[in-house]
């Protein structure tokens, strides 16, 4: 039997500064045999560790279509993320995963996709966005609405530019009022208001929403107004986690474990859970 707590040994190939206190690490396997047996799907997450400090939970932010590496994007918040932020390119860290369920992108074939993200909520969607863009012929319109507090807080700035230049992606970026810069070309306003303004069709459309709880709370009524059905609205949950495999008890929401029953969930399913997330 395998010791499921033993992580893969990874090294940091590339560090990208995304926003204040937000970084993206591209990680590669130290052991080629590990790389060979590793596979994951969009929506899954892992436990990233600094030996001697502990583990931290983040989604895998890169797409499974991009082989040979995984990426994670994190904001410095606690002890482990502080230690992670002190790492340099070439340093070794631990990774165990992938854990959790996935976005059902095969079921989304032939549909329009609407991705709505706020702040550091884009990384969990970036994985599925790139996954769908790399299989572009499977989907119809792809619309991305992304907002952050200020221009500086937007993550993946280069990729936003790339999506903006693609004719097969409708990208709307927005910043909170007061967060704009003189040469800001995107929108100004909160995500729910911009969603109302853009008013995408709900016809044959899947919506995936990820962001701070307040953004999700105010975005949902707009989606319902637009005619989205509860089972066509997806989000990805976050709770304090330790083990990632349904044992330590931390992430439990009633009988539901975010780590193994989630993190991807439809609004229809979410509604049935006790409010403990």
């Amino acid at each position: 039997m395998e010791n499921m707590y033993l992580p893969y040994r990874m090294f940091i190939e590339k560090i990208t500064e995304e926003a204040p206190l937000v970084r993206t690490y591209r990680l590669k396997f130290k052991n080629p045999a590990d790389e060979e047996k590793f596979s994951f799907k969009a929506g899954q997450f892992g436990e990233y560790s600094i030996f001697g400090e502990g583990e931290s939970t983040f989604c895998i932010a890169s797409s499974p279509t991009r082989k040979g590496y995984i990426e994670c994007t994190f904001r410095v918040a606690g002890r482990v993320t502080k230690a992670l932020a002190n790492c340099e390119e070439g340093d070794e860290i631990g990774f165990r995963g992938p854990y959790g369920n996935t976005f059902p992108i095969d079921d989304w074939k032939g549909k329009n996709l609407l991705f709505i993200a706020g702040g550091i909520g884009l990384p969990p969607l970036r994985c599925v966005i790139w996954n769908c863009l790399d299989l572009r012929e499977n989907y119809r319109d792809i619309t991305i609405l992304y907002g952050a507090r200020s221009v500086n807080d937007l993550v993946y700035k280069h990729e936003l530019e790339e999506w903006n230049n693609r004719p097969d992606v409708n990208l709307f970026t927005t910043v909170d009022p007061g967060g704009e810069t003189p040469n800001w070309k995107g929108k100004v306003g909160f995500v729910p208001a911009i969603l109302k303004e853009v008013s995408p069709s709900s016809d044959n459309t899947i919506a995936a929403v990820c962001g701070p709880p307040i953004m999700i709370k105010l975005t949902l009524p707009v989606l319902f107004e637009l005619g989205f059905k509860e089972e066509n609205i997806f989000t990805t949950l976050e709770n304090r986690m330790k083990c990632g495999i349904g044992k330590c008890g931390h992430c439990a929401v009633g009988p539901y474990y975010v780590c193994k029953d989630g993190p991807v969930i439809t609004y229809k399913e979410l509604k049935e859970l006790p409010q403990e997330y």
């Binding site: 499921m4 001697g52 709770n239 304090r240 931390h250 006790p274 409010q275």
Partner: protein
């Protein structure tokens, strides 16, 4: 099933032989006014007539603090090492049937899905010898959760004290092997009716009424009122034979260190607190509710087993004198 008898004078020799052959014997031992499962060096140390130990023997298979693996730093490389499996068999001797049922639950929880390496390593090396209850106290309520005071669930061997010595039921292959290894202490015997040796544990609540009410109990309006005395110390969880929650922590120096798992509990506010400061269970009443619903609803949904075995420890040990029996009765009464 096979049955044996072990005479009173022989049980002493049996235990001492177990110890002599290098087995680790964990048995109830009196320490001041309480009884604890302790590592025994000779039979005289064992308290055979206790009602309930202060803590269960859960730590035999799920230690309070346990090594998940060690890491050594070698320049930019890290070497990871699996923990060593225990060399000798452990015998949990003289546990009450409620604790046996708890070990049964623990095995389901840890091994059914994503089997747990560390639990299995210890569980496979442990032999469980149960001891029928001849008496109980006002905190015992096994019969209310479907367990009897002579229940053999989770035991490899089950002992019942009779006038002639201990009546032994051989429940599993593991138990049979142990008896065969020490065959000269045991006598052949026919099956007996245990009834007159078994305590009568009163039902303290109506489990079918509870089952009816508990699924809608999340929104019950009396959680705050009934949990008011709770100050969130976690004693209930740490003394509970079925609580399984843990934290993961590192202890290290520049050369390397160990990643441990350590008992944790949903009674503590920090248990669910996000790094952002957001806490899904902000209030103590919400944590208390989670404990009760986990025991009587969530594991029933997940595994078809209640994760309360009626041992009564959380009531005996609670410094705020909260009673899970009173709580359950309050829910069933509405």
């Amino acid at each position: 099933m096979e049955y044996k008898l072990i005479k009173l004078e022989k049980i002493q020799e049996f235990i001492n032989s177990l110890i002599a052959t290098g087995k680790q014997v964990l048995a109830p031992k009196q320490k001041k006014e309480k009884v604890f499962f302790s590592l025994i060096h000779s039979f005289e140390e064992i308290a055979m007539d206790y009602i309930q130990t202060a803590f269960s023997a859960k730590s035999a298979v799920f230690p309070k603090c346990e090594e998940l693996y060690t890491f050594e730093k070698n320049g930019k490389e890290t070497i990871l090492n699996n923990p060593q499996a225990p060399e000798n068999d452990t015998i949990v001797f003289g546990m009450r049937p409620c604790d046996g049922a708890a070990f049964d639950y623990l095995a389901t929880f840890f091994l059914k899905e994503n089997p747990d390496y560390h639990f299995k390593m210890r569980y496979d090396n442990t032999i469980f010898v149960g001891l029928t209850c001849s008496s109980g106290d006002e905190f015992c309520f096994c019969s209310s959760v479907g367990i009897s005071p002579s229940d053999t669930r989770g035991s490899d061997l089950m002992l019942t004290k009779t006038e002639n010595g201990y009546y032994v039921e051989i429940i599993t292959e593991k138990g049979k092997k142990l008896v065969e290894q020490f065959a000269n202490f045991f006598e052949q015997i026919e099956q007996i009716d245990k009834t007159k040796y078994v305590a009568n544990i009163q039902k303290r609540f109506d489990s079918s009424a509870l089952k009816e009410k508990i699924s809608g109990a999340f929104d019950w309006e009396r959680w705050e009122e009934t949990s008011l005395p709770c100050f969130g110390c976690g004693t209930c969880a740490f003394s509970c034979p079925t609580c399984t929650c843990f934290d993961i922590q590192d202890e290290a120096n520049l050369l390397g260190g160990t990643r441990y798992r350590i008992w944790d509990t949903c009674a503590l506010g920090i248990f669910t607190k996000h790094a952002s400061g957001h806490n899904p269970r902000e209030k103590q009443s919400e944590r208390w509710r989670n404990r009760i619903l986990h025991k009587f609803l969530y594991t029933d949904e997940q595994f078809g087993i209640l994760s309360c075995v009626g041992c009564g420890r959380c009531i005996r040990n609670c410094p705020a004198e909260l009673s899970i029996i009173e709580q359950v009765n309050a829910i069933t009464e509405g």
